[in-house]
């Protein structure tokens, strides 16, 4: 079996909804039927065959050769297998994923990994705003799994996160981890204003002191932390980081006391 490959022929004329092209939804479908699936979101109504050249036959191993910011909802809701985008992705990449791996070898748009519940999403470039965050009207953001951004993340990364791990390696914009319910957000490379704004529980782990925190965060000392040692080793073992992030006794700020106040921001002293 060869990887089911969608090669982008030209820049798409409209935004595309790629959510039908997941391992589950393509299982058992012939290639000529795949080419007939409508993915265009405007009056053009482009079909897969209009946009991509399709090759290969293994739906558990899907590759999009060539990326575009118009490729929305890549691998939405996938439960297993692997999807790889060689290039950029549009909005909501890996949204509501439950399993498998999604790799984007480029940049991702807003709401990447939104509400994901399991699996592993890795973005080698930058991610847009609202990384892992809920769409309007949803109560919780990311609910499990691992989301890695090797580049930067836009504002409100990990907004309303509830479970799982998000790691951003080259810095995030303002309000990272805002309204977190629980879970773990790792940001190396600095954060924008007020990380953890209105967080209830959860951990925001930084490689340096944040440049600002909401005034309702309080200083909580820096005792030795086995948790810091365990998460440092985990991040290195998973190939997410190369060096320990926190060390053995990170500084802790607790908050946000404007809400429940059981969250924490940890960084090496």
């Amino acid at each position: 079996m060869k990887a089911l490959t969608f090669t982008l022929v030209a820049e798409p004329p409209e935004r595309l909804d790629l959510s039908p092209l997941t391992p589950e939804r393509l299982a058992g479908i012939e290639r000529r039927d795949i080419e007939k699936i409508q993915i265009g979101m405007s009056k053009h109504g482009s079909k897969v065959g209009d946009i991509f050249r399709v090759a290969g036959n293994d739906p558990l191993d899907i590759v999009f050769e060539g990326g575009s910011t118009r490729l929305d909802r890549v691998a939405e809701g996938m439960r297993g297998g692997s999807v790889r985008v060689v290039g950029n992705a549009g909005a909501q990449a890996g949204r509501a994923m439950r399993g498998g791996t999604l790799t984007i070898e480029g940049n991702a748009g807003p709401h990447a990994g939104s509400g994901m519940r399991g699996g592993r999403l890795e973005i080698t470039g930058n991610a847009g705003e609202h990384l892992g965050a809920p769409l309007a009207g949803e109560l919780a953001g990311m609910n499990g799994g691992v989301l890695i951004v090797r580049g930067k993340a836009g504002a409100f990364a990990a907004d309303r996160m509830r479970r799982g791990l998000i790691a951003v390696l080259k810095g995030s914009a303002d309000n990272a981890g805002s309204r977190m319910i629980a879970g773990t957000l790792v940001v190396a490379g600095g954060t924008g204003e007020m990380p953890g704004y209105l967080m209830r529980r959860g951990s925001i782990l930084l490689d340096r002191a944040p440049k600002s925190l909401s005034p309702s965060f309080v200083e909580c000392g820096a005792p030795e932390s086995v948790f810091a040692a365990v998460i440092d080793r985990h991040l290195i073992a998973e190939g997410i980081l190369k060096r320990p992030l926190l060390g053995i006794a990170p500084q802790k700020y607790g908050g946000d006391n404007a809400v429940l106040g059981m969250g924490e921001v940890l960084f090496p002293r």
Partner: protein, 302 residues
């Protein structure tokens, strides 16, 4: 088959008889080796025999920092009991009173078994609402605030139903001092066998017992056949050359672990020789009808 002699030591033609048990294991870590051992020794105190302690427990192996989940020195502790409920109770009481309380400690699962026992998922209530749940790479941890920082404890650990308790052999010597030298050497050798513990004080029991006794309510009582002071009075198993008998009792994660431990211990006693150590090795059994596991001494020879 008659008794055999190896390196001048008589090996009785008999066998050890052992029983199926439930066992679990945890890994205790601390800022240094001293405190990892301290927490482990404290939680395995008063855990020599299920007869009176509820469980049998001891340090299985010491772990270098490279082999623990948090990169600190640690100990793998094994606990054995006759039933799952008792094992669960002993585990929580002992970790709660002896490991949670020990400075700088953390506690991790030490066994992947057929079922799970509660660990941090019960001890977390010590946090009184301030405990924090963390799932890291598929493992679930609880962080409980304590006065020197946080007690990190894995939510559950594994339980095995394939454990074996009561593997044993007797080290028989001309004097107490020689018996002790031989028994200590055996314990040191068994300490290197993974998955096997020797739960008695320093790994050695001097009061090997028989089942029951003449007094009502005694579950176990003096094994007079092996008591040198009664050699002339009762039907003794001891010849005129034996003045001290020490028993090594072994619990293992598996049948193989017990056998490996017995082999390691007996090999060491034989290598030590009769001049410095034991002149004879025997084993305890109940006629072979009660225990599920039989370890014939002639199969345990090096």
């Amino acid at each position: 088959m008659p008794n055999v002699s190896v390196n001048g030591i008589t090996i009785d033609d008999t066998f050890a008889e052992a029983f199926g048990m439930r066992a679990t294991a945890i890994v205790i870590t601390a800022p240094n080796r001293k405190w990892a051992r301290q927490a482990a020794i404290t939680m395995t105190g008063f855990a020599t025999s299920v007869i009176g302690c509820g469980c049998e427990a001891a340090i299985d192996v010491e772990l270098p920092p490279s082999a623990t989940p948090d990169g600190r020195p640690g100990c793998r502790v094994m606990i054995f009991a006759m039933g799952t409920d008792e094992l669960q109770k002993q585990l929580l009481n002992r970790v709660g009173q002896c490991v949670l309380t020990s400075p700088g400690s953390a506690c991790f699962a030490g066994l992947e078994g057929s079922a799970e026992l509660k660990l941090g998922s019960a001890l977390r209530y010590f946090g009184d609402g301030w405990q924090i749940s963390k799932k890291i790479g598929g493992r679930h941890f609880w962080r409980v605030p304590v006065m020197d920082g946080e007690f990190l404890c894995e939510a559950t650990t594994g339980l095995t139903k394939a454990a074996v308790g009561g593997g044993n052999f007797f080290v028989m010597a001309e004097s107490s001092a020689k018996a002790l030298v031989a028994a200590e050497a055996a314990v040191a050798a068994i300490g290197l066998v993974p998955g096997a513990i020797v739960p008695f004080p320093g790994g050695i029991a001097r009061s090997g017992s028989k089942i029951g006794g003449k007094y009502k309510g005694m579950i176990a009582s003096a094994n007079e056949a092996y008591a040198p002071t009664l050699r002339g009075v009762v039907r003794s198993e001891l010849g005129s050359d034996i003045n001290a008998v020490l028993e090594i009792v072994i619990d293992g994660e598996t049948n193989d672990a017990v056998a490996a431990a017995m082999k390691a211990g007996i090999k060491t006693v034989i290598e030590l020789g009769p001049k410095r150590g034991a002149v004879r090795i025997s084993a305890g059994n109940y006629g072979g009808k009660l225990g599920k596991f039989i370890y014939s001494l002639k199969d345990m020879l090096p």
